[in-house]
C-alpha cells in the first residue's frame, strides 16, 4: 500500500527560511535510508504559502481566488513523501526516524493513498470470492 507523509508547516517554513546545513544533511541521510530500503516513491518540498493561492468554492458554484499567505500555519503543508509500505505501522516506524523537519515542535501526518483496488475496480466481490475459494483449496492441497 501507499502512504503519504505530510510535513506540516512552521513559522520558519512559512517565512521561507532555509533549513540549516545540519538539518539538510540529516534529512538527506534519512531520505537515503528510505531509498535504500526501496520504500520511497516520491517526495517534494513546497514553497511557503506566500507564493501560493487558493481557489475557494462557494456553495452556489462560484469560485473565488485568494492569494497567499494563509494564516493557519499549523494546518498548512510544507512538503510530502510518498511511500510504498506493507502497512501503516511500517510507515509510522519510518517517520519516527525522520529528523524533526523544523527547529520547533511540529508534526508529520500519515495518510493512506487510495488505490484502484480500494475503488473495487480491480477486485470485485466476484473476484474476491473466487480468490477465497482458491486459497481454501490451496490450504487443502498437499
Amino acid at each position: 500500500m501507499r502512504v503519504m507523509a505530510i510535513v506540516k508547516a512552521s513559522e520558519a517554513s512559512e517565512a521561507g527560511e532555509m533549513p540549516s546545513e545540519e538539518m539538510l544533511a540529516a534529512m538527506g541521510e534519512f531520505n537515503e535510508e528510505m531509498v535504500k530500503a526501496g520504500v520511497l516513491l516520491a517526495g517534494e518540498g513546497l514553497h511557503p504559502s506566500s507564493k501560493g493561492a487558493r481557489v475557494t468554492f462557494g456553495g452556489d458554484g462560484e469560485r473565488t481566488v485568494i492569494d497567499g499567505p494563509f494564516a493557519e500555519t499549523k494546518e498548512l503543508i510544507a512538503g510530502y513523501w510518498l511511500m510504498q509500505v506493507r502497512d501503516m505501522d511500517e510507515a509510522i516506524e519510518w517517520m519516527k526516524r525522520c529528523p524533526n523537519p523544523h527547529d520547533e515542535p511540529g508534526a508529520i501526518e500519515l495518510r493512506q493513498v487510495f488505490e484502484a483496488e480500494d475503488f473495487g475496480e480491480e477486485f470485485t466481490p466476484e473476484l474476491r470470492e473466487q480468490e477465497d475459494r482458491i486459497r481454501e483449496q490451496a490450504e487443502q492441497n498437499q
Binding site: 530500503a37 520504500v39 519510518w94 488505490e115 480491480e122
Partner: protein, 423 residues
C-alpha cells in the same frame, strides 16, 4: 505506549531491520540458519522488553546487540564435556567473533556488504528456483511463512519445509556467505535478478489461479529490486530490472476491467496508468543507459516497455524502435518467445504480411509448442488482413492453450469478433 502498540512497532521494526541483522549474523556465524535463529532470539527479547520499556531510539542496534549477547550466553552455558573437539573449536571461534563484533562501530559499507552477501546467498544456484524465492522473501523480504504461503497459494507447511531444506542445502554445500568475486559475479547476479523477476511475474500473471494480478508480490519484488540496485548501483541490469518492473506495474490500474476481464495493452485507458511509476521507471532506465555499456536483456525489455509508456495513445507508439530493441534482445537471448514478440512488433511497424511471414518461421519451435501467444499473434495479424475465419480459428486455439481464465476469455471474445467480421 500500549502493549498492542509496542507489538505492532516490533513487527514494523522487524520488517525494516531484520534483513541487515540476519546479514550481519550470517557473516559472523557463517550459516544462514544459525543467523536467522539468533535474530529470532532478539525478536523474542524485543517482544518481551519493548512493551515494558518502550521502543528504543535505535531499534536496529538494540536488536543486534541483543542477538550478540544472547548468542554468547547460549554458547557459554553449554556443557563443555558433551561436545566433540571439532564442535568445541568452532564454538570458541564463534564466541571470539561475536565478542569482537561491536554493533556500534559497524560502518555503513559493512552493513551493506552483509546485506548484499545475504541476498547472493539466498539466491545461490545450488538451491532450486522455488527455494531461492522462498528464502529470499523470508530473509530479505522479511515476509512470514504464512505471507509467503498465501502469496503462492500453497500450504504454510510446504513453505516452511522449503525454507528448512534450503538452509540445510546451503550448509551441506558449505556455501560461503560473501559477495561473489569478479569471476562469478555476472552469473551470480543474474541468479538474483532472476529470483526477483520470478517473484514479480508470480504476482503479475498468476498462471495457476484465476486472479489476474496479485499486487502485493509485485510491490515486494519492486522493493527488493530497488534495494539491490541501491547496493550495486553500477550494475546496469539491476537498474534495468527495476525499470522494467516499475514500467510494467504502472499499467496495472488499466489492465483489468470491472468483473476482472483482461484488457490488452493496446486497448487500455492510458489515463489510468500510474505516472509516478512511469516517471520512476524511465529514470531508472536512464540511469542504466547512462552507465554506458550495451544494454542487457532486462534493460532492453525495460526500453521496450518505455516505448509504450511514452506513447500517449497506442497509435503514437514507436514500433520501429521496438523492433530495433527486439533485434538487440534476440541477438542476446536467441529466445523463440523474443522472436515471437518481435514478429508482432514487425507486424505493427511494417505491416501484417511481414509479421505473418516471421511467425511462419516459428512453427517448428518446440519451445513454443502449446504457447498460447503464438496462435494469438497469428490471429491478430490475420484479423487485420480481413481473414476473419482463419483468425477466429487461431484465437480459439489460443484460448484452449491458455491456462489463465481472464486471458482465455479475452481470446474467446476475440474469436467471436473475428468470426463475425467475415464477409
Amino acid at each position: 505506549m500500549t502493549e498492542r502498540g509496542a507489538r505492532r512497532a516490533v513487527g514494523a521494526v522487524w520488517r525494516i531491520e531484520s534483513p541487515r541483522l540476519i546479514g550481519a549474523l550470517a557473516r559472523i556465524t557463517g550459516d544462514v540458519g544459525a543467523a536467522e535463529d539468533l535474530a529470532q532470539d532478539s525478536l523474542v527479547a524485543a517482544l518481551e522488553e519493548w512493551p515494558r520499556s518502550g521502543v528504543p531510539d535505535r531499534p536496529g542496534a538494540w536488536l543486534m546487540a541483543t542477538a550478540k549477547n544472547r548468542a554468547i550466553d547460549r554458547l557459554r552455558r553449554r556443557e563443555v564435556a558433551a561436545r566433540k573437539e571439532e564442535e568445541l573449536r568452532r564454538e570458541v571461534e564463534l564466541d571470539a567473533r561475536l565478542s569482537a563484533y561491536d554493533p556500534a562501530a559497524t560502518v555503513a559499507d559493512e552493513i551493506e556488504d552483509d546485506l548484499l552477501s545475504l541476498i547472493f546467498t539466498a539466491c545461490h544456484p545450488v538451491l532450486t528456483a522455488e527455494a531461492r524465492v522462498a528464502l529470499t522473501l523470508r530473509l530479505v523480504g522479511a515476509l512470514t511463512t504464512a505471507e509467503i504461503a498465501r502469496a503462492f497459494l500453497v500450504k504454510e507447511s510446504t513453505v516452511a519445509q522449503r525454507i528448512v531444506r534450503a538452509k540445510r542445502t546451503l550448509a551441506e554445500a558449505k556455501v560461503p556467505i560473501e559477495v561473489p568475486g569478479t569471476d562469478e559475479r555476472a552469473g551470480r547476479l543474474a541468479s538474483v535478478l532472476e529470483v526477483i523477476y520470478a517473484i514479480f511475474n508470480e504476482g503479475y500473471s498468476a498462471s495457476a489461479g484465476e486472479v489476474w494480478i496479485r499486487t502485493d508480490l509485485c510491490q515486494e519484488a519492486m522493493r527488493l529490486g530497488r534495494v539491490l540496485a541501491g547496493l550495486v548501483p553500477r550494475e546496469a541490469e539491476a537498474l534495468g530490472l527495476v525499470a522494467l518492473m516499475e514500467l510494467q506495474a504502472a499499467r496495472f490500474p488499466a489492465r483489468t476491467g470491472p468483473g476482472g476481464q483482461a484488457i490488452p495493452l493496446l486497448e487500455q485507458d492510458r489515463s489510468r496508468w500510474d505516472f509516478v511509476l512511469i516517471g520512476r521507471g524511465l529514470k531508472a532506465l536512464g540511469r542504466a543507459e547512462a552507465l554506458g555499456r550495451p544494454l542487457g536483456p532486462y534493460a532492453l525489455q525495460a526500453a521496450i516497455a518505455a516505448c509504450h509508456a511514452r506513447a500517449r495513445a497506442p497509435e503514437r507508439t514507436d514500433w520501429k524502435r521496438i523492433v530495433a530493441l527486439y533485434d538487440a534482445l534476440e541477438a542476446i537471448t536467441g529466445s523463440p518467445v523474443v522472436r515471437l514478440n518481435r514478429a508482432v512488433a514487425v507486424g505493427m511497424a511494417f505491416g501484417a504480411v511481414a509479421g505473418l511471414d516471421l511467425l511462419r518461421g516459428l512453427d517448428d519451435q518446440p519451445a513454443l509448442d502449446g504457447y498460447h501467444l503464438l496462435p494469438a499473434a497469428r490471429g491478430e495479424l490475420l484479423e487485420r488482413l480481413g481473414r476473419g475465419a482463419e483468425a477466429a480459428a487461431e484465437f480459439t486455439r489460443a484460448a484452449e492453450l491458455s491456462d489463465n481464465a481472464p486471458a482465455a476469455e479475452l481470446l474467446r471474445a476475440r474469436a467471436r469478433r473475428a468470426g463475425a467480421a467475415t464477409p
